[in-house]
């Protein structure tokens, strides 16, 4: 195991100390595991709070700032945060206009955010929730915990964040967040397994020369395993899988996401293949984002997320944003 860490127990706290050092505009509470906008609460604005396990950086702490999240609650590695964190975050960012929780559809995140909503409402904070569930690799949702929340989280957080920044009331911020989720689908591929600091060995055994299709973002194994494919073949497979579920009639936002250990050179090359498939399928691309945004520690691989845009979604996507990991327009 080669990891740039001290001991597994302090990985999350050490990372938060570094985030604070690099971004003095954020309020980072290492002890309580909170990343909060330095100017929160912003008068008259809905607060946007997200969170989930650590190990998916820059999600979520890297998306805190003007035009996106008001606060993020990082949990332990791949483990959802606890309700106390989210309730504290809600209290810190509420200006009286209410708070929207952005929750990825994993049992742990859902249960802890549910409990946090009760705690925050007991303190007089109005709370709404949106559940992100975009991963088409999960089938038969009647017999599973339902589709997982993955890459679309970034779309939801950026677009709902822009709506909140504009001063939209809680119902409207919640409605646009829900619409973005409903119009977004993702599919992910692993080229290597992930190694968590606490365990120190890969969570599944993926021999060289094979890849795993339909993985989640926690190193959980995927839907099937195949011999290694080219970037072109992977793009064909992933985009087809997404388009099987989402048949966009308007231009899409495209996220070509790295899982943490795949170089940008490869991701851009893969992004070109994604554009090729979409062009062949007659799907226009309005905007493309390429990079490591919703990662899985040291996993190699990629995911594709498409969101069927509309005028409001595009306008909010283009609105200014200034966070550690995403910034434009200012």
């Amino acid at each position: 195991m080669r990891m740039l860490i001290n001991v597994p127990e302090t990985v999350v706290a050490d990372g938060l100390r570094g985030l604070a050092a690099a971004h003095p505009g954020l309020n980072v509470d290492v002890e309580n595991r909170l990343v909060v906008r330095g100017d929160a609460p912003v008068a008259g604005r809905v607060g946007l709070v997200s969170g989930g396990g650590s190990g998916h950086e820059p999600l979520h702490g890297g998306f805190v700032g003007v035009g996106m999240l008001s606060a993020a609650c990082p949990g332990e590695v791949f483990t959802s945060p606890v309700p106390d964190q989210m309730a504290r975050a809600a209290a810190a960012v509420d200006s009286g206009a209410g708070v929207l929780f952005v929750v990825k559809n994993y049992t742990g995140d859902v249960l802890n955010f549910d409990m946090a909503q009760e705690l925050a409402e007991d303190e007089g904070v109005q709370v709404a929730k949106v559940l992100v569930d975009d991963d088409v690799a999960v089938r038969d949702s009647l017999y599973t915990a339902g589709r997982r929340g993955t890459g679309a989280t970034l779309f939801v957080e950026k677009i709902a964040g822009a709506a909140a920044e504009e001063g939209a009331p809680l119902e409207r911020v919640e409605a646009v967040a829900r619409r973005v989720d409903e119009r977004s689908r993702s599919f992910g591929v692993a080229l290597s397994a992930v190694t968590t600091p606490a365990r120190g060995t890969p969570t599944f055994d993926l021999p060289a020369g094979e890849l795993e299709l339909g993985i989640g973002i926690h190193g959980e194994p995927g839907r099937e395993r195949r011999p290694m494919m080219t970037s072109r073949e992977i793009a064909d497979f992933t985009v087809e899988a997404v388009l099987d579920d989402l048949r966009p009639s308007s231009p899409v936002l495209a996220l070509v996401n790295g899982m943490g250990a795949t170089p940008l050179l490869e991701l851009y090359g893969f992004g070109a293949e994604v554009h090729r498939v979409l062009a062949e399928r007659g799907v226009p691309v309005a905007r493309t984002l390429v990079g490591n945004y919703v990662t899985s520690l040291d996993m190699a691989g990629c995911s594709v997320t498409l969101c069927e845009a509309d005028e409001e979604i595009l306008r909010l996507w283009d609105a200014p944003v200034e966070t550690p990991a995403l910034r434009w327009g200012r």
């Binding site: 396990g53 949990g75 483990t79 606890v82 742990g108 089938r139 989640g216 959980e220």
Partner: protein, 198 residues
């Protein structure tokens, strides 16, 4: 009669068992989940043991309620709310009596289990902690030893099951052939109960 001392012994025995078995729970989770169940349970029950050491409540109900609250605020993941709810609801069901019977404990556990089933939306046969807890709570009417055996059998019975809840459910058929980590930790909970009764 089972008094607060008994419940403190139970929680401390459970904290030791979870600490001892953490690596095994994480290995079970690595096979069908995300490899953190042992780490998370150890963090939670270490916090429970510390809280009970600092402030030892004097009724059985208060011991379980405090333990449940500590789990909810330290564990995260699905196991925090689920185990936290199990103990908190069982604690509430025991009320503020200074001593309770084994039958009352069994009844309280069933109330906690029902709350867990509601919260997680799971039922027996879904390959979850319920598969160990439900038979154990039923057997507790007979004896502590019977409850322990029932929990262990229940955890073993999850091996051939298809997961329908939690992260393992994403694996579909590939979840078959692995013991559910939540059922395994539930067997530790019931095992510690029998240890406290010895």
């Amino acid at each position: 009669m089972l008094d607060a001392e008994f419940f403190l012994r139970w929680m401390n025995a459970l904290a030791r068992a979870v600490d001892r078995e953490a690596a095994r729970l994480t290995e079970l989770d690595a096979a069908i989940g995300d490899a953190d169940h042992g780490t998370n349970m150890r963090r939670g029950f270490t916090a429970v043991a510390a809280a009970l050491e600092k402030d030892a409540p004097d009724t059985p109900g208060a011991v379980l309620t405090l333990a449940g609250r500590r789990l909810i605020s330290t564990v995260g993941g699905a196991s925090g709310p689920l185990y936290g709810t199990l103990l908190r609801r069982a604690g509430k069901a025991l009320g503020d009596e200074a001593g309770v019977s084994r039958a009352q404990l069994a009844e309280a556990l069933r109330a906690g289990i029902a709350a867990v089933a509601r919260l997680g939306g799971a039922k027996a046969g879904d390959k979850t902690m319920l598969d160990a807890l439900e038979p154990a709570a039923a057997a507790l009417d007979e004896s502590f030893a019977a409850a322990r055996a029932a929990a262990e059998d229940g955890a073993a019975a999850t091996v051939p099951m298809l997961a329908r809840k939690g992260r393992a459910s994403y694996l579909g058929e590939r979840s078959v052939g692995h013991r559910d980590p939540g059922a395994a930790s539930s067997a530790l909970l019931v095992g510690a109960l029998e240890e406290a009764a010895r």
